[in-house]
Structure formats: C-alpha cells, structure tokens
Assembly symmetry: C2
Homo-oligomer: 490 residues x 2
C-alpha cells in the first residue's frame, strides 16, 4: 500500500483555528458535562442531540444570496444543490427541531443539549473555530416560573461541578426595563436609541461619570482622544443613570429604584413586574442574594433577548497574564427570546434558555483545584524478559480487576532506561519490575515513582542509595502493595 515516492507528503496539522484535546482535557470536560446533565435531568429537562449539519435555510442567519454563504459558518453545497452548514450554536437547531417535531414534543418542552459548534471566523489566541456549548432551554411558556427555574438550575449546576456557594453569583436583569428606560428618556430615533444602548454597554468600563459624559456632550478617553457623546440633555440622561445605579441593598430596594427609573413606561413597569415575580419565586425556594441577585448592571446580551436576562459570574480572584488579581468573570448567560420558531411556523413561541461557557467553566474548576488538569497515569509493568510476556500481562490483569489503571510496556524492552522514561512520560505513579531473579524467588520490585521523583529532587547520595522508593514484595502481594502506595499519594 506504499505510495509512489513522487507524491509530496501531506502536512500533519489541524486546519487553522482547530485543535486536538488529549487525556484529561477530554475526560474532565466529559465529567463536568455529565454532572451538569444530572442536574438538568433532575429538573425535568430532556437531552437532545441534533445533527451537526443543518440546511443553511434552517439555520436562517446566513442565506446563500452570494456565491457561497461563508459569513460566519462553514457551508457547502449538497448533491441536490442545497446548501448545508455546520451549526454555529445550539439555539438555531433547537428552533428547527421544535418546529419540526412540535406535535410530538410536550409543551412546554424543556431540553438540554451539549456538543461542539463551529464558527467560520478568524482564529486568534484562545479563539477556536470549534468549541463546546452546553445549553438548557424551556420552549412554549411565558411563565416567569420558567425563567426563575433556569436561574435556580444554573446555580445548582455550578455547585454540582464544584463551584462553592459564595464563589459565584447569578445576576438577573430585564430587557423590558431597559426599553422602559429608553421610553422615559424620550429618545425615539432608532439611531439615537442604539447609541444609548452602546453607551450603557460601556458602564462596566467607564463607570457612572463616564456614562453621564458619553450620554451628553462626550468625553476625553484615556488615550486623550475625544469621544463624541449621544447628545442627550441632563434631564434625558436621568432615567439611564438611575437604571444603571439602581442596585439596592435588597431586591425590594432595587425593584423600587427600577420603578422610579422607568417612570410611566408600561413596558418598563411590565419588566419590573417580571423581575419582582422571579425574585419572589426564587426567595420562596431559598435562593437568596448569596446565589441569585436582581442586578440592573447586567447589560451584556440585552440587545439579543426580549425579557429577563441573566449571567453567572465567578466572583473569586485569579491572577491575569501580568500577575494582577482580577475576578474570574462570566461563565454562563441566557435570557428570554420569544421569536424562536416564528421563522418556520409563523407562530410566536415564547422561550427562555441559558448557555454555559464550557471551556471557561472547566478552566475555573482547574483554577480552584476541583479538576486535576493532569491525567492519572497507569501503573507500568516493565518488561525485563520478553519470554515472560504472559506473566507480565497476568500482573496488569490482576491490577485492573482491582480497579487500578495498569499497562505492560509494549515498546522495545531492550533498553531499561527507555522503559523508565516511558513511565515518566505517562505520569505513572508506580512501576513494577520483575526479571529472572524475581521470577525465581516469586517476588516483584515495586517502585514508587512519585516518592522517587521527590527524593531525586532533594536526596543526598546516601539517601539515594537506600532507595526507599523501591520495595520488594511477594508476587501474590502485588495488588496490595500497589494499592498501599497509591493510597499514600491521594
């Protein structure tokens, strides 16, 4: 099957923006998702796995009005000329699935989905073109109980994977309140409204005074450049600033401040009512402000959602690239979006959902030491005598039956040093050594590699010679001896 020599060799590399995941990067993510799925299941959410490939028509955002629809998605033409594409998120497929199967699905339909999505974007450091999403949505109800439930479920999920209470907070805001605030400003020009929204988005960065300037005449930024303002009067800016600074000591105070901010706007009042309902439902279930808070400063995503909006933030500090402490930040977000399937059926179907940033949450768990970030290596049974392979295999068989990860060295056994290098590369905690002499005396040498490495770092020559990291054990005590060493290193 050898190729003719003249064929140039292909390059062994992933396409730009794609990557491979090895060992614990795969298994720890799987374990984290399994725990989250357990919480979702308990809340009555059903698993859904839609195909990775959708028709571009069903995905909707990207119509083939140009030669090829490569705006943001990976797309190609099927044999029947239809354009197909890899899904770019898990919400567009949910809309398609719900429209397709709505007569067979319960209403409301609670579903969760976990899996890779693909974006045809310019890759950058830490930005990949394939990544995981983990979503839960409730389709077909406008009850605020659905929104409250998703906030509670998100808090439970974070605790289930190992984020302690106090290390996270779920913040809740409402798009309708913001719309009410816009009404209260008296701004009706869509461009000026959009400018106000963009300014609100800068609240985190520039603070109250900065927003005040940007809503008015403008402001000098840090670099000395003058940023033009939106041109509101001081009077017009009042509701916006009241909105952004309305967070009070408790939900009652916050909601009171928001009522003031939205003034007589009906939409705004409806939004405050919704927040009030969510707050009272959560309070009745014991989800206090140590877990979930009404927080009008949540502005990210407000443009996308139509009602309540929420965001889960990790509040503990980590060190950034430059060694400065900063909060870990957002790991999940969601909200209510009421036009999910109208594209397909013409009917408005209310829905609310949340999406967990899988990679970020996993990084957070590692930061907190809740996930090792290192594979547990196998016990390596070395090969001193090729003709004894069956006996080495019997050893690993015994270890595995005792639940201990173990393998025989299967490379060329001639150079023993290579076998120990292999064990090192595998992160092995223990190596087993048995040659002619050991077989004759029915014993094995059991080498504690973790202790060995520790001694190698600090030992004197005398200590080194004592080799306390290596024990001789009767052959029949192999499993017990290994188990004892492993239990010392847990």
């Amino acid at each position: 099957m050898a190729k003719p020599v003249k064929t140039p060799r292909p390059r062994a590399e992933t396409p730009k923006g794609f990557r491979d995941y090895f060992g614990s990067d795969v298994t720890e993510r799987a374990e984290m998702l399994r725990r989250i799925a357990g919480v979702y299941h308990r809340y009555g959410f059903d698993a859904l796995e839609s195909s990775a490939v959708e028709t571009v028509e069903a995905l909707g955002k990207f119509l083939p009005d140009v030669d090829r629809p490569n705006e943001g998605v990976f797309a190609w033409q099927d044999e029947d000329e239809k354009w197909l594409a890899l899904r770019y998120d898990l919400t567009a497929p949910l809309a398609r699935v719900y429209a397709q199967h709505r007569n067979d699905l319960p209403t409301p339909y609670r579903r969760y989905a976990m899996g890779p999505v693909w974006r045809n974007e310019k890759p950058g450091p830490g930005r990949f073109r394939q990544f995981y999403q983990c979503d839960a949505d409730t389709v077909g109800t406008s009850s605020m109980a659905a929104d409250a439930e998703i906030c509670a479920m998100l808090a439970d999920a974070l605790e289930e994977v190992g984020i302690a209470r106090g290390d996270y907070v779920v913040r809740v805001n409402n798009r309708k309140v913001l719309n009410g605030v816009l009404e209260a400003t008296g701004v009706s020009d869509p461009d000026q409204q959009a400018a106000v929204l963009r300014t609100i988005d800068k609240f985190d960065k520039v603070g109250e005074a900065g927003v005040r300037e940007l809503l008015g005449k403008g402001r000098l930024d840090a670099s000395g450049a003058y940023i033009d303002g939106v041109g509101l009067s001081d009077q017009q800016a009042v509701p916006v600033l009241a909105f952004l600074t309305s967070r009070g000591a408790d939900p009652v105070e916050t909601l009171g401040n928001l009522r003031t901010a939205v003034g007589t706007s009906e939409t705004g009042r409806a939004g405050v009512d919704e927040l009030e309902e969510i707050a009272s439902l959560l309070e009745a279930q014991g989800y206090g402000p140590d877990r979930i808070v009404i927080d009008p400063s949540v502005v990210r995503g407000l443009g996308y959602y139509t009602g309540p909006v929420f965001e889960a933030e990790l509040t503990f500090e980590i060190l950034d690239e430059k060694g400065r402490p900063r909060q870990f930040g957002s790991v999940a977000g969601g909200g209510r979006y009421d036009d999910l399937v109208a594209r397909f059926t013409g009917q408005q179907v209310p829905a609310v959902g949340v999406s967990i940033g899988v990679d970020r949450l996993l990084a957070a768990l590692r930061e907190k030491g809740r996930m090792g970030g290192e594979a547990q290596g196998p016990v390596v049974v070395t090969v001193m005598d090729r003709t004894r392979m069956a006996e080495y295999q019997a050893m690993v068989g015994e270890l595995r039956r005792a639940g201990i990860r173990a393998e025989v060295y299967l490379g060329n056994p001639k150079n023993f040093g290579n076998q120990m290098k292999y064990a090192d590369r595998r992160g092995s905690p223990v190596a087993i050594i048995a040659g002619e002499d050991e077989f004759a005396r029915r014993v094995v040498q059991v080498k504690d590699l973790i202790l060995g490495a520790r001694i190698a770092e600090s030992a004197t020559l005398e200590e080194w010679k004592d080799r306390p990291s290596q024990t001789e054990a009767p052959r029949e005590a192999l499993v017990d001896t290994v188990r004892n060493i492993l239990s010392e290193h847990v």
Copy 2:
C-alpha cells in the same frame, strides 16, 4: 426582529440522511460510552478528541483533483483556498495526530476516541450520514501483546456494558495466514488473487461446497444464474478450503490445521506464529474460548488489515423484520495495520486497533433489556392555583434535593385535563395535585400514574371509583410518599 412577510418560510427539517436524537437515545449512548471509556482507561488508554474538521490533504483518501472532492466526504474550500472536510472515521485523524505530535506522545501510544463521523453517501433506511464511532488503538509497537490486549479489552468492554459472558465471542484471524494460503495455491496473478479473496468472502453465504465450485469452474446460484469460477485446479483449491475449515476443537488443533494449510509459505507461517502467540498470551490471562477464539472463518476486513484481524460477534438470537430468529451478529472489528503514518513521515509505524459499532451495540443492549430505551419521566407537580407558584416550586425543590426528577407544569394551567395529558406525554410516574382545599388542610394529592394506567386498562367501574391510585398525604410527607411509590415501580 420579525422577518418581512414576503420571505418564504424555511422548511423545518434535517438535511437528508441526518437525524435528531431525543432523551434516552442520547443519555443511554452516553452512559454506554462512559462505561467503555472506563475499561479503556483501566487498560492505560488515553482519551483523544481531535477536531471534526481536517484538511482534505491530511485525510488523504480524497484529494482535490476534481473541482470539489465530494467523493465520500463533506468538503469545502477555506478562505485560504485549502480544502477542509469532516472526518469520515477516527483512524485517519489518529494518523494525523500521531504524525503531528509524535515527539510529545509516549511510544507506544495507546489512545481511545469516541465521537461522530460523517460520510457523504446516499442515505438509506437505517443508514445515516452522521454516526458515532468508538475506537481504541495502540500505535508504535509490533508486539503481539498489543493485539492480545485489545482483544481482552474488547471482551471486558462488552461485559462492562452488560453483554453477559457466553452472549458474545471475539474471533481472531490473521491476514498473513491468508497470504500464505494464496502462496500455497500457487496463484500469482493479482487479478486471480483478488478473485480468490472475493470467493473467500462468500464462505459465510455459500459454504464449503459453494466455495469449492466457485474456486473451480463456477456454480449455479439460487436464482438459476451461472456464476463463473476462478478457474483453480482441485489441487490449487485445497489450501483455501483447508484454511476456511481449519477451526478445530481447541486452539492447538486450529493452529495445527492452519500450519498444514499454509504449507511452506514463510508469510503464512509467520501468521500462524502470531496467532499462536496471541492465543498463548490470552490463555495465560484466563481469556479462554468462551470469550476469545482463533477462527479462520473471520474474513471480513482481511483486505484492509496487514496482520491479526478480530471481530466481536453477539451470539444470542433476535427476531429479524420477518419474525425469523437470527444471530445478532458483529458489533466490533479491528486488526493490525502497519502503514498508519508513513504518508506523513515516510516512516512505517506499526499499529493495531478496534472500532465498536456504537449504534449496533446500543441496539443489542436494548434487545437484552440492559438499557431501558425509555426515558424515566419526571414527577409532575400540577398547578391548580397560579398564585401558589412559589409553593409548587418549593415542592419540586424538595423532590430534587432528594434526588427525584421533578418539574412544575409551566403551560397554561386553566385546563386540568391538559396537565394530565402533559404528564402522560412526559412518561411521568407520579403527579402531585394541590388546590385551595389541600393548601388549607396542609395536604397534597399524590397520583400514581403507572398504577393508574394499569387500572384504567382492566378496572371495573367500582374499582375505578375507589381511585386506589391516588393518595392524600400530609404536605410534609410529600417526598416520602413519592419515594415509596417510585420504589414500588422499580
């Protein structure tokens, strides 16, 4: 965000040949793969998840020498003109990964991979263009201990997911033995050799006599058509028939028969030696013929592999579409292939691996009742009084904290019949009912829906009126009452 009315509505459907998986179809597959991964992990195999997208160049089989390489893969051109494609299996990506990372990976490298693959083929009944594979491979060793290990691991994995010993067998054959048989026939013309191979593939269907005829002059098939033979003399056909019928009462007898069949062929003898080594390694570890057998009738895949070949077959009977009993058949296959990365590096790297047919194995587990095939529905707390939503939420909160799957009905609560229909569609085992009267008396009605359905099928009117399927419980006994009912239905 409403679209203009003139836009025609998109069709809500998966692309041809793709499908969605709901509820237990997702969770049971995940659970099965998790158990298999546990076995692989114990054997020292590391997880690998490569990206779904590869360069067509790295996939290798499908070069862009035509306008677009749509032969069997889904492919498209990236912005930099490179052709990208969805992986069609997990072996081609392994080759790329090993070639790319070989300096950082241990040698030998044991890895497992699980995930979807995509084939651009004509879909048919039960044939989809996206499906799961689950592979384990050892790269970088030619030791037969690696092959034996994979056979043992496959047997362990089948038992771990719920296939009982005796309900499966792993059969092992060797491509080199077949090559030796070809040498022994004296056939050297490649076309004639290929014809002999095709005839061997028909052994399952036409039996020994049929193969004898097809190797010689030819034979009348069932439809009355005459099939031309390969044209071997009786003498030339002897080794082939000896090979196909060489399975003896034990490995020693089988291996003896194979030695006779290959005669003086060196390749053939090497193949028999390899089988002998595998058999003796497996025997030493206690994997007898109740689990793994040397079986020269395994001919599927012999063309692809270069050494040992194995296949796991489920031996219990199921009824086919026409109600006739037949053996369940193959659920996994693999073997040794020694030119994995030579395309990339020019160096031959020996490798051996196995692939489990995920969908078939899951179907087998359902057939044996090892997997429910039905989701466990949640307890549904119905809503009799909208203003009590917080109290209904508190009920599901208590149930969930007790580990019981539970949800509040979040549809329009006006029509109680709809709530019970919803509970039915959800497969709920229990419904909770509490209205004004129940809240006043601090009780709940607990309805056993499984018992209720059973009674509805067979009850007299009197029994029906007694409503033994509905109990009144003190509010504080909610969790205990539900738990008791659930434990009765396990």
